[in-house]
């Protein structure tokens, strides 16, 4: 049993792996610095004349239809988000010469489920990884 050789293999192996990977870290830092030379983030111009109008609430003339109990009623903050998304869908569909409307809203439990954006991100990250072959 050549324990000197065995122990020196362990020491050499761990040391060399760390040294090479630390050198690679250094190279990556250097590369990221070089890659960002001359890079300026694009800043959208601000329209100074634009002022945000305070939303005015007008009482509806017609009595709204009663809402069934089994439909999730969004919070006021959510309504703004829904309005923005609806506008985006409308703009997108109008560009294609089509009309679209939101027909339903379903709230998800934030504690147990990931957000749609998070889900989309995870889905994109995992795509191509299914069916490991090595």
């Amino acid at each position: 049993m050549d324990w000197n050789m065995a122990l020196s293999t362990v020491a050499t192996g761990i040391a060399v792996v760390f040294i090479i990977l630390i050198l690679l870290i250094g190279m990556l830092f250097l590369m990221s610095k070089l890659a960002t030379i001359g890079y300026k983030p694009t800043i959208m111009p601000v329209n100074k004349s634009f002022t945000l109008q305070k939303p005015v609430y007008t009482k509806p003339a017609v009595k709204p239809e009663p809402v069934p109990e089994n439909i999730d009623v969004p919070e006021p903050d959510d309504l703004e988000i829904i309005a923005v998304i609806t506008a985006a869908v409308s703009a997108f569909s109008a560009a294609n010469g089509k009309q679209a409307r939101i027909v339903g809203i379903k709230k998800r439990d934030k504690q147990t489920r990931r957000s749609a954006w998070g889900g989309a991100g995870v889905s994109e990250s995992m795509s191509g990884m299914k069916g490991r072959v090595w």
Binding site: A6, G13, V17, I20, L24, I25, M126, R132, W134
Partner: protein, 389 residues
């Protein structure tokens, strides 16, 4: 009538029932178990199924599909293999000449996104720490009586990288190839079972709930330079690791270049699938009763589990060091992904992290150490080959 009886007698004499050795039936039984695990339990089926079927083919007496004796000598008589060899002997040349593992590395490279590693290069340290499992297991294997080349081949199971294990074992201890390949791929399939208890044991709930900052955007230029830099650096320092690392990085470069889509699709799909079939079936064919049914195989299975567990533990412990040094900004759970097993180990980090906090997303952070582990284990294999090859 006599001709008919003689023909039946001839068939009977050539059949398994008169030629069989009892151990062959044990191996056939093991092959059935592995086929069951691959199909019913989905344990790495892409490789375990061809491996198991290769094991079945080679252990049916009289089939003459694989002849281990043709490859026993250090200098293979290739003419003899071509003249006398069976179907699996011919295919096995692809393993023996290191063609298949390297082509698989090309495919892996073309499927791997090194972005999370480039965005957070410190992940390399976690990938390096997890390789300690390889070297510590090397000592264990040597203490159990294995030679240095055998101990190196067994220890590389801790790298959790099948092609690397096959590449090194073919060069250092080909007689152990069947046992090591089966152990390596079985444990890779068991990553979700082996790792979580170790991760939970070594971390506190507070550490597991650490949410890490979003990774920065990585430019295309960085992704293009990365494979070239890694190839040059590793090639200059450890030329023995160049076949593995070079093919991995070439696959990645063709992916990131964006100008050879046809090559990328071929590397990711057709080439990879063809090579996986040929590699799996021939590696399985090396698991003959004489090679597989012995005490060494049991020790290899035990040592392989130890290598995996130690690698996981070292990664998590190094993650804890980074947790402290970074001011509690690094979740130690991502350290376990440093053992490679892409992307399974990263998924395990994500899963264990989400058990502690359902809103914690560690996947992309864990992918950094995960792909660093692939490079780390290839470097470790290069070092082992340099020392004992």
């Amino acid at each position: 009538m006599q001709v008919f009886i003689d023909s039946i007698k001839g068939l009977w004499n050539n059949s398994v029932f008169t030629n069989a050795e009892p151990l062959s039936f044990v191996m056939i039984g093991i092959a059935f178990i592995l086929i069951y695990l691959a199909i019913a339990k989905k344990y790495e089926p892409l490789l375990l199924l061809p491996i198991a079927f290769g094991m079945l083919l080679t252990n049916i007496p009289g089939g003459n599909m694989f002849h281990p004796e043709l490859f026993a000598a250090k200098d293979i008589d290739f003419g003899m293999v071509l003249r006398e060899g069976g179907f699996l002997d011919i295919l096995y040349l692809g393993v023996k000449l290191q063609i298949f593992p390297l082509l698989i590395f090309l495919g892996i490279g073309s499927m791997t996104d090194f972005g999370p590693l480039i965005a957070n290069p410190v992940s390399f340290l976690l990938g390096a720490a997890a390789q300690a499992g390889i070297f510590i297991t090397f000592i264990g294997a040597y203490a159990l009586g294995f030679t240095f080349p055998e101990a190196s081949s067994i220890a590389i199971i801790g790298g959790a990288d099948g092609p690397t294990a096959i590449w090194l074992t073919t060069r250092l201890a080909p007689e152990l190839l069947g046992s090591i390949a089966v152990a390596a791929y079985s444990y890779m399939a068991l990553v979700p079972v082996i790792q979580p208890p170790i991760m939970k044991l070594l971390t506190t709930k507070k550490e597991r709930t650490v949410k890490m900052a979003q990774l920065r955007h990585v430019s295309k230029k960085e992704k293009l330079f990365f494979p070239i830099i890694v190839t040059v650096m590793v090639g200059f320092i450890i030329p023995d690791a160049l076949p593995l690392v070079g093919m991995l990085m070439m696959g990645n470069l063709i992916k990131e270049s964006g100008v050879v889509d046809r090559l990328v699709k071929t590397a990711q799909n057709e080439l990879m699938n063809i090579v996986v079939i040929m590699l799996g079936i021939t590696v399985g064919a090396t698991a003959t009763a004489a090679n597989f049914l012995n005490l060494k195989t049991l020790m290899i299975i035990g040592l392989g589990l130890g290598a995996f567990a130690i690698g996981t533990a070292m990664g998590v412990l190094f993650g804890k060091i980074m947790y402290v040094l970074s001011g509690k900004k690094v979740n130690p759970l991502i350290g376990s992904a440093g053992v490679s097993a892409v992307p399974m180990a990263a998924r395990v980090s994500q899963k264990v992290g989400q058990e502690a906090d359902p809103n914690n997303y560690l996947l992309m952070h864990a992918m950094g150490p995960n792909v660093a582990g692939v490079i780390g284990s290839a470097v470790a294999a290069g070092i082992m080959f340099n020392l004992f090859g």
